[in-house]
Symmetry: C2
């Protein structure tokens, strides 16, 4: 038994039928050469037959029923691997559409608190000689960034490697080739985890302390000339989810980037989102007059040596930047420029601050999110943004699972009370992969956003070419 830190138990205490607190990941794989029709079910049989499960994937809440007081972890001595590792199939014709439908349903149900808080589903019947996996893990156990890193570690850059252990087995690969991929690709990027920690730390403070920080932030943020308008995304949510996912070649994003001096890939990604959200809201006759505001978790690394001597931001400090998405602007190039300017301004707020100050400032816009889910708690600030958009770097080079090439990896996140839509993107093998997770009731026709994202990117490309 181990007492769970309050920072983790909050995710259990705040959870309800309407607010599942798990993150997910959808991975697509090509069937390896020579794979027979029973490849996936044989893989499933192998996986449930394994006996070794790492302690992290064995622990479960000690008092699953109680919703009050300190929560402790205990070891599940009676782990039922067949419960956690599932085999599912897509109905015909097995398109990505059917895959997203199934994933939406899987992501919309609560994890069983009487067991270790994770599920892993193998999905067969995907057209184009592919199969998929959907992983689901409670936020109190692992956040999305850590889960993605663990996934990477469990895969190999070598298409000929076999006998690889699954992610929940004790020995995740640590050989040289794997370390190289990690060095190439994903630096230890803990943006979301740190942001979440900050939220939880603030939520753990008394109201007076929060007010002091809040006032400080109001002062600092006076330079932000905009406020989040009301939108259809900022409503109470229900438990059912809708998920949409698609990847776009990074080359296309890079071409657009050149249109605005100093623009980053992240700025272009935000401009894609902005254009798509604009089209989506116009179609629903629900576009606010004022521009939407997105909360963007950002790594704020500065020169580490300087940071060490001056005590300012260094290492992997994470800030939440409130970005004007300029959804009121029709011209895509102007929209990108406004987003670029807003992101720069947002980063300036954090210049010269200590790590603690960065954490505290970042937590302010997030606090209502965390606090709204605590029964009886007061909202200390009005909603300061319309949706959360996160960019979680993934591996650069193609990875394999026992010879099966992973062709895509898409993150599924947590819509919160008053935040019905979440966009999380990741990069993988030359693609920018979007995962859109929404409350099924509040975000109708979520999948249309994929078309709008494509149209938005085309529009930006035309603006650059013209």
């Amino acid at each position: 038994m181990a007492i769970m830190p309050i920072t983790d138990s909050l995710f259990l205490l705040a959870e309800s039928r309407e607010h599942p607190m798990h993150v997910g990941g959808l991975q697509l794989y090509e069937l390896p050469e020579g794979a027979g029709p029973d490849y996936v079910s044989e893989l499933h049989r192998e996986l449930v037959g394994a006996v070794d499960v790492r302690p992290l994937f064995r622990r479960r809440p000690m008092n699953p029923v109680s919703s009050l007081g300190q929560v402790a972890w205990m070891n599940d001595d009676d782990l039922d691997l067949e419960y956690h590792v599932r085999l599912s199939a897509l109905p015909r014709p097995g398109r990505v559409r059917e895959l997203l439908e199934l994933t939406s349903r899987l992501h919309g149900s609560l994890l069983d608190r009487h067991r270790p808080l994770w599920e892993f589903t193998l999905i067969e019947g995907l057209e184009g000689n592919r199969f998929a996996t959907y992983a689901k893990v409670h936020h109190s156990l692992l956040d999305g960034v850590s889960a993605l890193r663990l996934l990477q570690k469990s895969l190999s850059p070598d298409p000929d490697e076999r006998d690889m252990r699954p992610i929940w087995s004790p020995k995740v690969r640590t050989d040289a080739s794997n370390r190289r991929v990690e060095a190439d690709g994903a630096p230890p990027f803990q943006v979301l985890r740190a942001a979440a920690t900050a939220v939880r730390e603030i939520a753990g403070l008394g109201p007076t302390a929060v007010k002091v920080i809040n006032d400080a932030f109001r002062e600092q943020s006076a330079m932000l000339a905009f406020k989040a308008p009301k939108s259809i995304f900022n409503v109470p949510i229900t438990g059912a989810r809708r998920f949409a996912a698609q990847g776009w070649p990074l080359e296309r994003i890079k071409t657009v980037r050149k249109a605005v001096s100093g623009a980053t890939l992240n700025d272009v990604m935000l401009a894609m989102c902005s254009g798509a959200l604009r089209r989506y809201l116009i179609e629903l006759d629900a576009l606010p007059e004022k521009p939407l505001v997105a909360a963007i978790p950002m790594s704020l690394r500065t020169d580490t040596a300087r940071a060490a001597t001056e005590g300012t931001v260094g290492g992997n400090a994470v800030g939440i930047i409130l970005c004007n998405l300029a959804t009121d602007v029709d011209d895509p190039a102007v929209r990108l420029a406004e987003i670029r300017a807003s992101m720069l301004k947002g980063k300036e707020v954090y210049q010269g601050l200590s790590q603690l100050q960065v954490t505290a400032l970042s937590a302010i816009p997030m606090a209502p999110l965390a606090i709204a889910t605590i029964p009886g708690a007061l909202r200390i600030t009005p909603a300061t943004f319309n949706l959360l958009i996160s960019n979680v770097p993934g591996p650069h080079s193609p990875l394999y699972w026992n010879g099966a090439r992973m062709t895509g990896v898409y993150p599924l996140s947590i819509p919160y009370e008053g935040q019905a839509l979440n966009i999380t993107v990741t990069t993988y093998a030359g693609n920018l992969q979007f995962g859109l997770t929404g409350c099924r009731r509040s975000v109708p026709h979520l999948q249309r956003l994929l078309t709008h994202l494509e149209d938005s990117l085309s529009e930006l490309e035309k603006a650059v070419a013209g």
Copy 2:
């Protein structure tokens, strides 16, 4: 808006992650002649395309989040049929094993209270040129018996009939041929509903009133020479479910019946259960020394004219009979005889009682079940039985859905706190169909009970032949 009767809202108030309060039904169909590979997905598209939905399937709880106070129904003006009517598929090889695995998972998740409390899943990929449907409905909306009757009404005895509406559409079939089937087959048999109502009425009484009835029952039941022993089934339960189902020809049951003078088909069914439970518990080294006690809801119809004049049991009065399953006895014929005797004794308790008395008496053994699920409530009696076994008559003749012959229909019920296993059987077209629903953690290897049921029946057959 309509205030929900306390008898219905209790099922909503008592529900938790560990105690979902929905019932289910699994139906198997043969694909009609000439059905192409897209038959099921085309059927799904048709079903979600329909617009008419009966009021019963439109209403949802008004305050889905609150767990206190009176609950009201409201009409869902924004019904999302694509949410309720789902298309799923079995992984290869698509055996009944894979079907039961999927059904177990579907039955183990909570219904979304922000929507009308039902789901209907079409399942393709079942071997042997078949498909399946799984229906799930909250007990506050419809009980298992009513749901089965509604299903029957939505099907046809005519294999050539087409353009039939789904169960949730306003016009369930009421033509002559259908009425005939109903008259042949299932009389309005409301055993379970009435039993549930009784439980709910008793649960609504004050403790003093309950004590009076309780004492009365203790006196009446003094003739019951046994008490329920502790067993592995009488433990706190978790939310995940395991479901197993299989049918046996009624002819085999009928042959065995002749072995014991006066035995009913129901007695033989109970003897099958008893033998199977005995084998199952011996295998787990968990057979109690004393015999298991089952609670059996029974119709107690007597002569209606006499009942009317004497004010005693008439019509469809329902009693809960506590039956000695004789699991301590090795000889199958002796076991059947003991069960027969116990059922007769149980019915005697109810002789000459008024309908109200029957209801009150029946509710006593059920009360701990209902009360155990109410937070903070006291258990007024210890568990008086080990498991609930229900027999719900179904249609005698084969039924069709737009030309697809229904080959099987299996009920899924609700395990309660302290009642980890439920057995519900139904009859259909010459078969006795068993549905076994258990808590996944407390009832390990539930599917082995199917083998044990077959062995138990064979054993009875041999005893008869010998």
